[in-house]
């Protein structure tokens, strides 16, 4: 029996596909939920970092945002995952699904990157846009919400897409905390048949397809948002 036949037998007859589909679902859900959490926390951090002012409360928040970004960008994702699973939640005495812990870890990690992406996006908007808004009597927040942030979002879509793609790929370390993602699913199949070539090549193809689909979706989104540049 050749390698392909072994894989097919495992995948179909031994119902390996249920594990793979389950793992695929876990990977996608954690990546999407992680990005969603990252977008929310990251955008808040970016705005905190950008607001001008000498309010002491704001300065403390800005300091916190700096430390947060340094911490999450300065340590490997796997380490953060391990810390969340083995240190943070146990020490708080909280017992939740490893999948949820994984989502939280990826969300917190992603927030640091999203923060810097959003900040860069906001800073890339010409100062004249803010000045025009303020000179009409609009408040700082209205100017940001109605004028600067919509333009910034349009500019950061490609980079945000990048962030999502690397997030999808990084979820492959989830097995460190015993979450069955798509990597773990293929790994399990390989280990039980001692046939590694096909499962791991298939795994690579699965990630590639996810990333290609994501790239396609991002491109459509980008084109739609760029409508105001043409016409």
């Amino acid at each position: 029996m050749n390698a392909w036949d072994i894989f097919i037998r495992q995948f179909i007859e031994k119902e390996g596909y249920t594990l793979v589909l389950q793992g695929l679902g876990t990977t996608l859900i954690i990546a999407v939920a992680g990005l969603a959490i990252g977008l929310i926390i990251g955008s808040i951090l970016a705005i905190v970092k950008i607001i001008p002012g000498k309010n002491p409360f704001l300065l403390v928040l800005q300091r916190f945002a700096d430390v947060y970004v340094a911490l999450f960008r300065g340590t490997p994702m796997v380490v953060q995952l391990l810390v969340v699973h083995f240190v943070l939640f146990p020490s708080l005495g909280i017992h939740i699904l490893s999948e949820i812990e994984g989502t939280i870890a990826f969300g917190l990690n992603s927030a640091a990157y999203v923060c810097e992406i959003m900040r860069g996006g906001i800073l890339s908007i010409d100062k004249g846009q803010t000045e025009a808004g303020r000179s009409l009597g609009l408040s700082y927040s209205t100017t940001m919400i109605k004028i600067v942030i919509p333009q910034a979002i349009k500019n950061v879509i490609p980079t945000m897409g990048n962030e999502f793609i690397s997030l999808v790929k990084e979820t492959s370390v989830l097995s460190f905390i015993a979450v069955v993602d798509v990597t773990k699913a293929f790994q399990t199949m390989a280990n039980s048949s001692y046939e590694y070539v096909v499962p791991y090549l298939m795994l690579a193809v699965v990630y590639l397809v996810i990333v290609l689909i994501a790239t396609f979706v991002i491109r459509i989104l980008e084109r739609r948002l760029r409508a105001s540049d043409k016409r």
């Binding site: 000179s135 009409l136 609009l138």
Partner: protein
């Protein structure tokens, strides 16, 4: 004849309360002192043109007037209301309750000498001791006399060199954003007014396009009418034609001239000397952060007294 006219203008200036009062305005960026003490009053209906070499601080005066730049010191008043921080330099009565003043008078200085000493030496060196009563008086003065900056800006339209139309909004959205957000008009009223203004400048057909499709001249004319949507009492023009192709300068200047003819109060920073001469009721020549000469266009262009102004004019008028 021109002399009579200018006397009349000066007479009026001293009689009526100014619409905008700039008192001892100073601005530095780091170590560069861009404005070194500008004092002027702009009355309702006046069209003040600011000219001067580049880097002289012309635009900074304008940008300080609506606080896009925070003045380092000095005060900006709009219609009798303070719009920035209280500058003790302009208020002898507040200075008189400061710790430093009390110390100096105790040392035997007369009141006038103590004030002069504080203004000329001590405030600059920033070893001025305020004291609790002084801080309280300053706060009370501000509370009694100032208005919110957003409120003030809504009453002052500003037109920029680079137009600064909102790129993410269509022309009509650009125009109605501020009046609707600030609840000056309902959306329907705002749209109706905006359409009227667009029709007036012949760009009603551009109502729903994005700014990126417009020419420079069209952008600037829309930027001007966008400001008009807030019904401002005064318009500030910061080199409105400097970024335009030559063939588009005329259409923008015509629109500004029209507004001037309707009696709009204006401060215009420009390099168009012909235009300055035609539109200005008063021209200010700014050089090295100070008003070097000021007067009617006839005086300034016809009979310049300041050596630097003569030099400047010889370079720009050929």
């Amino acid at each position: 004849m021109t002399n009579d006219n200018s006397n009349e203008v000066l007479q009026e200036a001293s009689n009526s309360e100014g619409m905008i009062k700039i008192q001892n305005l100073k601005k530095s960026f780091g170590k560069a002192n861009v404005l070194k003490g500008i004092t002027t009053t702009i009355k309702k209906g006046e069209k003040v043109v600011i000219i001067g070499p580049s880097g002289s601080g012309k635009s900074t005066i304008l940008r300080c007037t609506n606080l896009l730049e925070e003045p380092t010191s000095g005060e900006i008043w709009l219609d009798g209301k303070l719009i920035n921080e209280v500058d003790p330099y302009n208020h002898d009565d507040i200075l008189k309750i400061s710790s430093t003043f009390k110390k100096l008078t105790a040392e035997g200085y007369s009141e006038e000498l103590a004030l002069a000493e504080i203004k000329n030496n001590i405030l600059i060196k920033s070893d001025f001791k305020e004291g609790r009563e002084f801080v309280k008086a300053k706060k009370e003065f501000k509370k009694a006399n100032s208005i919110n900056i957003n409120e003030a800006r809504a009453r002052m339209g500003m037109v920029f060199q680079h137009f600064n139309l909102f790129n993410n909004l269509t022309v009509i959205q650009n125009m109605i954003l501020a009046p609707v957000q600030l609840k000056r008009k309902t959306k329907e009223e705002a749209i109706a007014d905006a359409e009227k203004l667009l029709d007036r400048i012949g760009l009603l057909d551009k109502r729903d396009v994005y700014p990126s499709t417009l020419s420079g001249g069209q952008k600037q004319r829309i930027a001007i009418v966008r400001s008009l949507c807030m019904n401002p009492e005064i318009m500030l023009f910061d080199e409105p034609t400097s970024a335009l192709d030559p063939e588009m300068v005329g259409e923008v200047l015509d629109l500004i001239q029209e507004l001037a003819n309707e009696g709009m109060t204006m401060i215009i920073v420009t390099h168009e000397m012909g235009f300055a001469k035609k539109i200005g009721t008063r021209v200010m020549f700014v050089d090295q952060g100070l008003v070097a000469e000021s007067g009617t266009p006839e005086e300034l262009f016809g009979n310049p007294k300041n050596a630097r102004l003569k030099d400047f004019l010889s370079k720009v008028l050929y």
